[in-house]
Structures are given as structure tokens and as C-alpha cells.
């Protein structure tokens, strides 16, 4: 393997129903930085049916080139078909780095591609950098159950690959009219040869918990002691008009469902206000909330790592503090309303 043959940074462009996934746009932002540092091209690889129009978006968000596989066989994501297109394209154009969103599709595809190439794959990356001279990708992620950060390298194989958490990297501001090179590719695949068929796609109509969209999140941890104790989190969230978040322990204890879990194996959130109550602040939790606008931590243990990652900390008993907070907040809010009405 001659490393000199491998050039450029690629981003797998995930799309559904004619829309590019936001994580792909974030990765174009991150990939742009890597490509510029290395002095190489940034390319998107776009696979699907009727997806050609999406190249415009991919250019506006920073790509120089887009490789497109637009064939009916790619209507639904399937590991086998998408993998074959990606493997063929990577073999033909030899990128140095390929990035994927750490979504269910991105992780599925990257795991399969890595095995066939073969190459190294770093999962759920939260920090990316590249060595200017060697092109070595520095992919960092919480490791060992999220207790510590580790930087993972792939020195002997190319391309280097990583899946990257959503909402951790920043998309560039789209540059309207920015354009680039479209490389249209096709791959001869017969539907009869494909071993999996998507029979039906069911969108859940029940309104799903989307804590990643909330402006205010009140999150609770194991420090609350029990399912009953955790209920004060719901009460405070309701008072503030916020969503309920939880640490991994709490979800595993069954006090609340997984869609509420914040952190490495849960959701990454960036609300304007984040309350961490009874949460010690393991790294795997911190990576999921550290970009919140204002972080308030309440914990009995003054040494808890959460206090290193908050803007305001209260050392104390949540069962003492939170009820006062609820009461005072309600009062303050009603005062605000009264004064507003007067002004009006």
C-alpha cells in the first residue's frame, strides 16, 4: 500500500426523503478544516435515488467534489448495496480519510466498509484533527465506558475512517451559489442478487421525545436515589417549560426511557440552559452536554467532576434546593408577567 496514492477527505452524505442529514453538513464543516490543513480536496459521497439535486447543498456547505451514485437500487439504505458503491468509489479514487455520521445508518455502513477494505474505524468520535505532514487522522472519543478520552490512530492502513457524533462538529454557514465538480458514477447491481429487501418503512406517529431540540433541559442522575426521587426532575422541568434529561445510570436503572439519555451513548444536546442535578459528570455524560449555553450543576459532592464543567454550581441536597427553586421560580415568573401586563 503506497500512502502517496491516497488523497483527500471524504464525507458520506446521508440523506432521507430528499434532505441531507444535518450531521453530514456538520461533517462537511469538520472535513473542510482537515482538508485545508492538509491542502487537499474535500469530497462528499452521495448515494441514493433521485439525489442529484442535493449536490448543490453539499457544495454550499463546503465540498469541492461530489461523487454521486443515483440509481433506483439505492432507494432505501441497505448495507449491501451502499457498501458496494462506497467500496468501489474508494478503490477508484483512494481518499485518505472517510468520515461518517455516527447515526444508525452511518455506523452500519462504516462497520461493513471497514471490514471489507480492510482498515481501522474509530467509533463515535467527538474530536478530529489531522497531522499536516503525514495525513494521520487523530480521532478522539470517550473510551472505557466513557471514563476517559482516548486518541485513536490508524497508522498502517488507508483510507482512515471514523464515525462522528451528531451535534459535536459545526457546519459552515452555507455559501449560496458555491459550486464544484460532480462526478457521476454507476455500479451494475441487480435487485435479484441483493439478499435484503425493505418491505415497509414505518414513521412513528407518536410524538417522539426530541430532547436535542429543547431550549431548556433539566437532567437528573443517580444521586437522586430512586425512581421516586427522580420525579423532582420532572417537576422542575415542567415549571421551567423544559425537557427532561438523564444520565446513563438512571436510564439503565429504568427510571426513565433511553430517548432521555444525554451523553456518548445517548443524545448530544446543546440547550440554552442545562441543569445537571445529582449527576456526577462522567466524561461520557459531559461530551453530550458540554456545549450547552448555561450549565447549572447541583450535587452533594463538592469534588464531583460536573462542577468542572458547569457555569454555576450549588453544593447541596437536591431535595432541599430544587423545591425552593420551583417555588421561587413560579413567584418570579408571575411577577414578570404582572410587570409586563402593566407595561403593556
Amino acid at each position: 500500500m503506497d500512502f502517496k496514492d491516497y488523497k483527500g477527505v471524504w464525507v458520506f452524505i446521508e440523506q432521507k426523503d430528499g434532505v441531507v442529514a444535518s450531521v453530514s453538513l456538520e461533517l462537511l464543516g469538520a472535513g473542510r478544516k482537515l482538508a485545508d490543513k492538509r491542502g487537499v480536496e474535500l469530497a462528499g459521497i452521495l448515494i441514493g435515488e433521485n439525489v442529484k439535486d442535493l449536490t448543490k447543498t453539499v457544495f454550499e456547505y463546503g465540498a469541492d467534489t461530489v461523487y454521486v451514485y443515483d440509481q433506483p437500487i439505492f432507494k432505501h439504505y441497505r448495507t449491501e448495496t451502499y457498501m458496494k458503491a462506497l467500496l468501489e468509489c474508494a478503490d477508484k479514487y483512494k481518499p485518505e480519510i472517510i468520515l461518517y455520521g455516527a447515526t444508525s445508518t452511518g455506523k452500519d455502513l462504516a462497520s461493513a466498509v471497514a471490514t471489507d477494505l480492510p482498515t481501522g474505524l474509530t467509533a463515535d468520535t467527538t474530536e478530529l484533527d489531522v497531522e499536516e505532514e503525514t495525513g494521520l487522522l487523530l480521532a478522539s472519543r470517550p473510551a472505557f465506558g466513557g471514563n476517559i478520552m482516548a486518541t485513536i490512530l490508524c497508522k498502517k492502513y488507508r483510507p482512515q475512517m471514523a464515525t462522528v457524533r451528531a451535534k459535536v462538529m459545526k457546519a459552515l454557514d452555507p455559501e449560496s451559489g458555491r459550486t464544484g465538480k460532480v462526478v457521476e458514477e454507476t455500479i451494475p447491481l441487480n435487485e435479484e442478487d441483493i439478499r435484503t429487501k425493505v418491505l415497509e418503512i414505518v414513521k412513528e406517529t407518536v410524538k417522539k421525545v426530541r430532547i436535542d431540540e429543547a431550549d431548556i433541559i433539566v437532567a437528573g442522575g443517580k444521586g437522586l436515589g430512586s425512581f421516586e426521587g427522580f420525579q423532582i426532575i420532572h417537576q422542575l422541568a415542567e415549571t421551567l417549560g423544559g425537557a427532561v434529561g438523564a444520565s446513563r445510570d438512571v436510564v439503565e436503572a429504568g427510571w426513565i426511557d433511553h430517548p432521555h439519555q444525554v451523553g456518548q451513548t445517548g443524545v448530544t444536546v446543546t440547550p440554552k440552559i442545562y441543569f445537571a442535578i445529582g449527576i456526577s459528570g462522567a466524561i461520557q455524560h459531559i461530551v453530550g452536554m458540554k456545549n450547552s449555553g448555561l450549565i447549572i450543576a447541583i450535587n452533594k459532592d463538592k469534588e464531583a467532576p460536573i462542577f468542572q464543567n458547569c457555569h454555576y454550581g450549588i453544593v447541596g441536597d437536591a431535595f432541599e434546593i430544587v423545591p425552593i427553586l420551583i417555588e421561587q421560580f413560579k413567584k418570579a415568573l408571575s411577577r414578570e408577567k404582572v410587570s409586563q401586563t402593566r407595561e403593556a
Partner: protein, 275 residues
């Protein structure tokens, strides 16, 4: 008769484990070794399918000798056979080298009893990658079906499986040829307390233990640290941010200070009130 293989891993309980702050490594003595919680759901699903369609469930794992305990746990859940591959030459394996070694073990198991279905947990709690399952499927050249949260049907005669694969906004119903591999979500089932007879069986059970030399057609270069393209270059505690301002005084005084901070952002609460 279905032959289902569940792939499992023994892991340190990362919820409890303490880090050595000097070396930034896990102090394994501080945490008990447990069956990876996600894998318990994989074994449970295998056992349920066995009960539904008839067949046997084998579990396979790679790890140090104490991983026998994790296999016994699977026998408690209802698995019939357990295989441990253990050898110093497996040490230091990343996901690629792990999927290679486990695939070799499955190939050997399949020689005496062909495998219809492989089930893995979504990921391990110490590695958190979810990459080994799809890796095994690719190496065996069978379809990988990740994010499975329901098995609708297994039809051995006609050679297909129908499952639900969960994704961000819902799920898709997928039909695949057999054999294939599922990685299952935790939500696929609940693992009940093990029935007493299984516990007795587990206590007496002796798993098959294989070294590299017991496997066939193994390329030693693809095992362990040598066969792993990824390396951990450094382990570090993230740079500590400046840290927060501690509020002080009585609880009431602290809340008062907090309120004044919150009310600087009162526009947030007002819009919520209006909704």
C-alpha cells in the same frame, strides 16, 4: 431445528469502575466482570426464537479464562452450549481483529452444526463501538442487520427472516435471506430472572475452550494487537475547563442567586409560557 449463535463479551462494569488518575487506565480490580448487558438481550432473543421454532443456542466469546463466568450466565438465560476462545495471541485486538477471531470460532462451530442465525448485542459497554457484529457478518458474507428491535418471523424452510430495524424516526421492516446476523437493541426484550433448573445446569456446565491452535485456517497476522489497524495513541483526561462559580450561603440564598442568573434569560421562559 434452528442453530442460533449468540456472540457475547465479558466486560468490566464500567458504571462502577474507577480510573487510575496517574496512568489513565482502568483499575479493573475496582469493578466486577459482568456479561455485557446488551449481550444478555442477544442471548435472550436467541432463546426465545429457540422456544418458538425449536433448535439450539450456542454462545461464543473471546476473552481471558475468567470469561467462562459470562458463558455460564448465558446458560442460565437458556443457551445450550458455550465456546470460549482464549489465547494470549488474541490480546490487544481492536474491532477488526476481534471480528476475525470470532468468525474463525463460528466457522469451526458451524462445521459440526451449520449456523442459521447469529445474534449480537448492539455494542459492548466498555468498547461502545457496535462494530464487531457487522464485521462478523461481512467476513462470513452474510447480511448484517443492525438496530433490530423485533423479530417478526424466521422461516428456516424458505430461508428468510423478517425483522424490524429501528432508526431515528421509526422503524423499517426488512426481509433477509438466512443465514444472517442481527445486532439487537436493548428494547427487543426483557431478560427475566433465570429459572432454577437453568441455574443448576449453569453451575455444572463446562464450556468448550479453544486456543488459536484449535481453530482452522487462521492467519496469525490478523489476530490481536498485530491484526489491529487502530491503536490508542494516548489516553487523557479532557482538559478541565475553568470550572463553575460556586454559589454560596443558605439554600434559599443560593436559589436566589441562581434565579437572578436564570431571569437574565427570561425570554426563554416567556416563549414557553405563551405556548
Amino acid at each position: 431445528m434452528l442453530h442460533i449463535v449468540a456472540c457475547i463479551k465479558q466486560v468490566p462494569d464500567t458504571k462502577i469502575i474507577k480510573m487510575n488518575p496517574k496512568t489513565n487506565t482502568m483499575d479493573r480490580r475496582t469493578a466486577p466482570a459482568i456479561l455485557n448487558p446488551y449481550d444478555a438481550h442477544a442471548v435472550e432473543e436467541a432463546v426465545r426464537l429457540k422456544n418458538r421454532y425449536g433448535g439450539i443456542v450456542s454462545v461464543v466469546t473471546m476473552g481471558p479464562p475468567p470469561a467462562v463466568t459470562a458463558i455460564k450466565k448465558c446458560i442460565e438465560i437458556g443457551a445450550d452450549e458455550g465456546y470460549l476462545i482464549t489465547d494470549r495471541r488474541f490480546a490487544g485486538a481492536d474491532t477488526l481483529a476481534t471480528s476475525y477471531a470470532v468468525t474463525k470460532a463460528i466457522e469451526k462451530i458451524a462445521k459440526t452444526n451449520p449456523v442459521d442465525l447469529i445474534i449480537c448485542g448492539k455494542m459492548s459497554i466498555d468498547g461502545d463501538t457496535g462494530q464487531v457484529g457487522p464485521g462478523i457478518a461481512r467476513r462470513l458474507d452474510i447480511p448484517p442487520l443492525t438496530s433490530v428491535n423485533k423479530v417478526e418471523e424466521i422461516n428456516q424452510e424458505e430461508g428468510y427472516a423478517i425483522v424490524h430495524r429501528k432508526f431515528e424516526e421509526g422503524y423499517e421492516v426488512v426481509k433477509s435471506t438466512l443465514p444472517c446476523l442481527f445486532s439487537v437493541e436493548k428494547t427487543i426484550n426483557e431478560v427475566p430472572y433465570s429459572p432454577f433448573p437453568n441455574m443448576i445446569k449453569a453451575a455444572r456446565y463446562k464450556p468448550h475452550i479453544w486456543s488459536v491452535d484449535d481453530l482452522e485456517g487462521v492467519d496469525i497476522k490478523q489476530l490481536g494487537l498485530k491484526g489491529s489497524p487502530t491503536i490508542v495513541s494516548k489516553v487523557w483526561a479532557p482538559q478541565k475547563p475553568a470550572g463553575g462559580t460556586f454559589l454560596d450561603g443558605s439554600p434559599a440564598a443560593q436559589v436566589e442567586q441562581l434565579l437572578s442568573v436564570l431571569l437574565e434569560k427570561k425570554e426563554l421562559f416567556e416563549t414557553k409560557e405563551g405556548v
